[in-house]
Amino acid sequence: MTAAPQDLKGAERDGLRRFATIWSRAVYPVTATSMTRAEFEDHLYPLAELLGDALHSHPFSPAAGREVGVALVAAHCTDPEALPQILGVVESYLVLYSSEADPLPVDEGRARCSRLQHAIAAGFSRALRERTRTEQESLSRAALAAQTAVEEALHTSETRFRAVFEDATIGIGIADMDGRIRDVNGALARMFGRSEDELRRRSVNDWVHPGDATDVYRKHRELVRGERDHFRVEKPFPRPDGTVLWTNMTISLLRGAEGEPRYQLALLEDITERRLLHLRLRYEATHDELTGLPNRTLFAERLERVLSAEGPARFGLCYLDIDGFKAVNDSLGHAVGDQLLVSVAERLQSCATSPAHLVARIGGDEFVALITDPSGRDEVTELARQALAALATPITIDGRELSVRASIGIVEGPSGELGPAEVMRSADITMYRAKDAGGNRYELADPDSDARAIDRHSLTNHLPAALERDEFFLEYQPLIRMSDGRVDGAEALVRWHHPVHGRLGPDRFIPMAEHTGLIVPLGRWVLEQAVEQAREWQRQLAASGTERAPTEPLRVNVNLSPRQLHHPDLVPDTVAVLEAAGVSPDSLCLEVTESALIGADEDELKPLRQLAELGVEIALDDFGTGYSNLANLRRLPATTLKLDRSFTQGLQRHPADPVDVTFVGGIISLAHALGLRVTVEGVETEAQALQLRQLDCDTAQGWYYARPSAAKDIPAYWAQAG
């Protein structure tokens, strides 16, 4: 009562500070405030002051309590537990800590404090209610705003999506899980040739088409069951105008929020045109342009399939080649040749009566008929027979009747054993067998023939390397001069020391070498070796002092094949070889078969004539086996006739066949009359030798005198005969 007001105030403040501390300690744990304890206490102090002032105000008003309640809510003392804590401290400590300077009567103090508490509670509740309402409202407004924003964005996206849907060139359709079509776009309607409304009344199950891939419905069932999310197929659809729409269709499953199948979405791309183009390209790629028959590609595919067929299936193949087709082309022109092929194709096609028969043209004049799983060999040979019969009637082209002959190789057997290449090789070999047998016939493949042909084939393949590897060697067979029994020379005979097959005679490889052209380098090699050998023998002979007229050099005979004969380098090569060896041209006799010269004109004979003029001897080999045109003999540049062994066989007997004796004698006389010497091959008996000498034959060759042998063995013969 006596204290100064300032001091009173100070004391009051200290009390209220302590009150705020107690208050803070009680309330802080139940607030959600982010203030620190110190901050919170600072925050509470002004409120404590307000309460302290109110408690002592004259006249007393509890209004400040409401303010304090509002401020406490603002300080996030909003937990329901906060209010008892707030009021508890006010109840217990407010009067105590705010009344030091101006103590109120106890009852008055308690009454005022109660009224202040009521006001705090009222202010607190009102503020809390207001805040709750405000927050709820602002949250609702936020939710609404967010929803509006989402909806607007959604609407925008839907507008965009609708535009995509409607303007898409791809067909889009939606159906429910029962298959009922719910929506389609314009592109789909146009593709189907129906209105959108019409389509919406349909079900996806209406569109089963016989052209559907087999697994479409399995995949679709999986999709409907929710086991598959999408699949893609090529699917045909019937259009109202009877045409077929081909589509590339993707079906996707649309699921609901819970993942349950809700709708099926189909995206369809019209591939009708593309498919037609593809089919046409495929047709073109697999058919022969000229005849319209399937071509080699299609045939190869079918053959592959037939040969790899599972189960006990068989196959039959007729491989047909027109005999002498080249002559038709050469003599009548390709236009006629083409027409002929078209007619042949038609006739062959007419023989193929079953879908299991595929007739194809696989090359120029090569046709095949492939039979899938024939009933037996008879069905295949019957087809071959029919094919030959169908071609038997001459074909009329431009008023000209052309006879068509063909050779057919048949391969027939169980599937799964041979590969396509093996089958084709066998068919080829067999067809050539039919041709070799005269043509216009069929032959059945047999393993032995195949093996022989394959053997030939492999020899052919190894020929070039053989020359490089020095696998060839020469043997010589002496030629005996009948007048005195001396060795006149020797014929060089080539052999092949094959690394696998051993020693092979010329009959095994010369035809192939001739065929492949290897005969040219091989022939040149033989020529070099033989001429070199002649030089060596001549040197030996001179060294041995054996008397021999310089006009009669020891000679080597070398065979010249038709291809060599026509080779442009024949003359220079031969001259070069002779010069390299340093021997005279008459040390060499080139043997040419009569048949190689038949029909040769003057130009073709020119190289031989040049060689003959140089002094090289020319022998006409195998004379009498070909078309022996005696009149022709005069103009050939030959110096010797080599009479084929067939003429001398009759002389082996004793007494000799008089007809043969007359015949051979006649030829010898004739030859001599033309200035030609005569050599006889194949002399095997003494009787023959005697007879030939009597007939005035010039030289002889044969086992009777000597077998072919190595070069080193030859000098022994002239020593012996000399």
């Binding site: 959600a32 805040r131 967010a146």
Partner: protein, 282 residues
Amino acid sequence: MNKLETLMERPAWAPQGIDLTVPSVSRIYDYYLGGSHNFEVDRDAGRKATEAWPGLPKIMQANRAFMRRAIRYAAEQGVTQFLDIGSGIPTFGNVHEVALKADPAAHVVYVDNDPVAVAHSRAVLHDCDQADVVSADFRSPQDVLLSTEVERLLDFDRPVAVLLVALLHFVEDKDDPWKTVAEFRDALAPGSLLVLSHAGEGETRRPARAEEFMDVYRNFGSPLSLRPREEVLRFFDGFELVEPGLVAMPRWRPDSPPEQEDPVTFGGFAGVGTVPASGHLG
């Protein structure tokens, strides 16, 4: 006729819808803090969660307090740009309030993927030029960094404080939050800060009914990943942790003795890292 739209799956560019029957992490957080920015579904979830882990409101409060101290710390370092990702429903003691109080020139961008939180933030920030909100997801950093709001308010040539407060435990390992944090880090200038708090065991044991609590969040599609300290520490790869390092929330640069705090708030981790100056010339 326009049935189709509702039949089709939403294209990726269409916004997500809002389903107010599903609880929201940010509204539950508001509920924990005693706010009324929540619906019954949120309160229901919040009540269940609190029942299983009774200290939750206190933890949230401590989290708010840590955030406020960290903002002040940033301002003391001269960092006045703030990017608060996973900001939630604005409530008392917001980043921009604290930041503006610390430095009136501060700029703040809030980021959240909850459209309601974003809409509410937008309303609250309507009159504030220095703060704005972006509707984006932490998992798509480019959406955040390239947003017009970020472009307008934040200058990445200068330090920025990135706040990932009570966010990363909502990002599952399969989304590789470490990689995402690194992506944000790579956009930051030296001196920038990472302010991070993360739920975990910390100094306290997991409550007995922790699984029940986790289920509440898992059930509405926001599973929680309580990570051990090492894993939380890895978020600071490429940052230098400032004192006192990664600690329990009440221990991070406290205003008052941490012992006064509720023991429950010592679960989890809080820390601040700074982007070191590039190069090591000094």
